[in-house]
């Protein structure tokens, strides 16, 4: 098996003390940003990006991806102990995790969450290992129209599948595209949308937008809600871990189902948040202890956590093979790859063999390292949350400001960050999604290039997007996804079917 050989090669590459050290640092930083309010995985990765420019791409991606895993784990700590989801994707974990902690079963809930998360993540990596080369090989035959159709599919899925109002998703996405267009046009070299302001010549960086929208926006929301951290205590002993592990096999079917949901939502741009909610509601529907859900049912912790991590890891599959990130964090990492001079997409697997397999190998190891680190450091990170907000908040804001500044060493970026912060606050309060904005800001130039080249091929006829069966079916699928809310409404009214669980998940959000 060539995948297996490549994987061994990758393992060989990353099994050095330096890389393992980076993993531990990445995981610790990840848990930290996952635990702190206002900082999350997309934000943490954006803040860390400028620091990785001096590293080799393999070391840099190990650091960033481990930060991602750490943040996913960290989000569950606050969900279970404090009833505060550190990440949007761990909201579903609070439903049963916090009641368990109230009953004094915090250690059990945490162990179950982390262990099932690891299973989900490993399933995602397995999928990545054995599917990515095939998808990349298939995508090698893509040319510009196919690539644009794939981008279109990703964006339309976001609009059609989002829990936010479709038109608000469109607005957020178009702002991202507009941001990407500012600055030098990659084809003609003209300066666009700069209005003769030299300060806009370098364009608007997506990192600044991410830091402002997620970081400052989140802080403002937190302040408004007047959050007080009152958490449960947890001590994880080896005995609790073993006892919880003994219980896990009983839930094998929940784990398998959640993994499938997670992998699917991760590959399609549904993202970890949607995956965890869907998996939770499915688990509740099929469980024998249905009435115990929401009151501290172990299964209600296992299901969203497995799906969350499966989606988080499999989001890297479309990112690496097609250049399309499945989540906001993956989008930021993709931006990082481009800054390091790598071109995500099918050619990456040929040209950067070591990098790709180093990353995949590091995902196996990184997730195991995460589990060990997170089990050992829960009390430490829980105590960080007990530091008063008036100390934590200004430090987070300072880190955000420094992060925005260090992107281009420019104070203008810090001002932009503030503007994006205000926008992020309004967006969050009014139900505009932020992830599509980030995705469009990162992918805008590539999507535009693909579109313009397709138009060149066809002399400006849109018919090129239906010129062969492959691109035609991709484009049609994209349009189906775009109008999915209307189509599904039509179908269900046609068949007289009502889906009560859909309404329920929505009301929970």
């Amino acid at each position: 098996m060539s995948e297996f050989d490549s994987l061994l090669q990758g393992m060989n590459l990353i099994l050095t003390p330096g890389h393992i050290g980076l993993m531990v640092i990445g995981v610790l930083l990840g848990i930290l940003v996952g635990v702190l309010p206002g900082l999350g995985a997309p934000n943490g990765v954006a803040l860390l990006l400028p620091l990785t420019f001096t590293m080799s791409p393999v070391s840099a991606i190990i650091l960033l991806s481990c930060m991602y895993w750490g943040a996913l784990f960290g989000g569950s700590i606050t969900s279970i102990l404090f009833n505060i989801p550190g990440e949007p994707s761990s909201v579903a974990t609070t439903f049963d995790g916090y009641p368990m902690a109230r009953e004094g079963r915090a250690a059990e809930a945490l162990t179950a969450a982390f262990s099932s998360a690891l299973i989900g993540a490993l399933a995602g990596v397995l999928l990545l290992t054995f599917l990515s080369t095939k998808i990349a090989a298939f995508a090698m035959s893509f040319s510009s129209p196919e690539f644009f159709a794939v981008y279109l599919l990703a964006f339309c899925t976001f609009i059609g599948m989002s829990k936010n109002p479709p038109l608000k998703t469109v607005v957020a996405m178009m702002i991202g595209f507009a941001m990407a267009a500012v600055g030098m046009d990659t084809v003609s070299g003209n300066l666009r949308l700069t209005f003769d302001q030299p300060i806009l010549m370098t364009g608007i960086s997506f990192e600044v937008a991410v830091i402002g929208l997620f970081g400052i926006g989140e802080i403002l929301c937190t302040v408004e809600e007047g959050l007080v951290f009152r958490g449960e205590h947890a001590r994880i002993t080896p005995m609790v871990i073993l006892r919880t592990w003994a219980k896990l096999p009983r839930y094998w079917w929940t784990i398998v189902r959640s993994t499938l949901v997670g992998c699917w939502m991760g590959i399609t741009p549904g993202g970890p948040t949607a995956a965890s909610f869907m998996s939770y509601s499915l688990a509740r529907r099929f469980s024998k202890n249905r009435e115990n859900f929401g009151k501290g049912e172990l299964e209600g912790v296992i299901a969203p956590e497995t799906a969350d991590h499966a989606a988080g890891t499999s989001a890297l599959l479309p990112m690496l093979t097609l250049g399309i990130p499945g989540s906001a964090t993956a989008a930021v990492m993709l931006g990082g790859l481009m800054i390091w001079g790598l071109h995500p997409g099918p050619t990456l697997f040929v040209e950067q063999h070591d990098f790709v397999w180093g990353l995949i190998a590091s995902m196996y190891l990184g997730n195991v390292v995460s589990l060990i680190v997170v089990l050992a450091t829960v009390p430490l990170f829980a105590s960080i949350l007990r530091i008063p907000f008036s100390i934590i908040a200004p430090i987070i804001i300072m880190v955000c400001a420094i992060g925005a500044y260090s992107v281009h060493n420019s104070f203008f970026d810090v001002v932009l960050m503030l503007g994006f912060g205000a926008l992020g606050y309004l967006f969050k309060k009014l139900g505009y999604p932020i992830a599509p904005l980030v995705l469009a800001a990162v992918l805008g130039d590539k999507a535009e290039d693909a579109f313009r080249q397709s138009m060149l091929f066809s002399d400006g006829h849109l018919g090129i997007f239906w010129s062969n069966p492959l691109v035609g079916s991709l484009t049609t699928a994209a349009l189906l996804m775009l109008f999915w809310p209307l189509i599904s409404k039509g179908l269900s009214s046609l068949m007289g079917l009502r889906k009560p669980h859909v309404a329920k998940t929505k009301s929970v959000l």
Partner: protein, 177 residues
């Protein structure tokens, strides 16, 4: 933007909603305007630079207008308060200092501005039963600044603008030698 902080009454969600749609629609118009400047047609070498962004701007404006219309349709349902006055005061009490912090940065440098910002934030916290002592405030703010210097400037070689303070220290260091 759509903060109506000067209005005495609590602002309704509908006004904020409407304000944001106007704001995004305006961005769309600006994008379209900028694209037209670059040419949105078909040049010698295919699509002109403004070709793609123009439609982005158009879609942005169109979607914003549609959002605005939806807001008007749901006008009565959206009469709930966007934010209570005390909560908004809280938000402003954090947002204004951040704005001052950001505004002061180019003049004082990052380190001085950050230290002052953290110190002020801690000093202002009167909600706590016991205010922070001077020693506590000083050590936290200076410690955070020192840590950021060590991590960013020293270990990762990302230079942070130290402002005039940094110049003085550099000058003093040179004279000392």
């Amino acid at each position: 933007m759509s903060h109506s902080s000067d209005s005495p009454a609590l602002v309704g969600t509908r006004w904020v909603e409407l304000g944001l749609t106007v704001f995004t629609a305006l961005i769309g118009v600006v994008v379209m305007f900028g694209s037209v400047e670059q040419g949105i047609g078909w040049g010698d070498s295919g699509p002109e630079p403004g070709y793609f962004p123009f439609y982005i701007g158009l879609m942005l404006s169109a979607a914003s207008v549609a959002n605005g219309v939806l807001t008007l349709v749901r006008w009565h349902a959206l009469s709930i308060a966007f934010v209570s006055r005390s909560a908004f005061k809280q938000v402003l009490s954090v947002f204004i200092p951040i704005a001052l912090f950001v505004g002061a940065m180019p003049f004082t440098g990052i380190y001085v501005a950050s230290a002052c910002f953290i110190a002020w934030f801690m000093w202002r916290d009167k909600v706590r039963a016991k205010p922070y002592g001077k020693l506590m405030i000083g050590s936290v703010s200076l410690g955070a600044v020192l840590a950021s210097y060590l991590i960013f400037a020293l270990w990762f070689k990302v230079p942070l603008d130290a402002g005039p303070m940094g110049d003085w220290i550099a000058l003093a260091g040179r004279n000392f030698k």
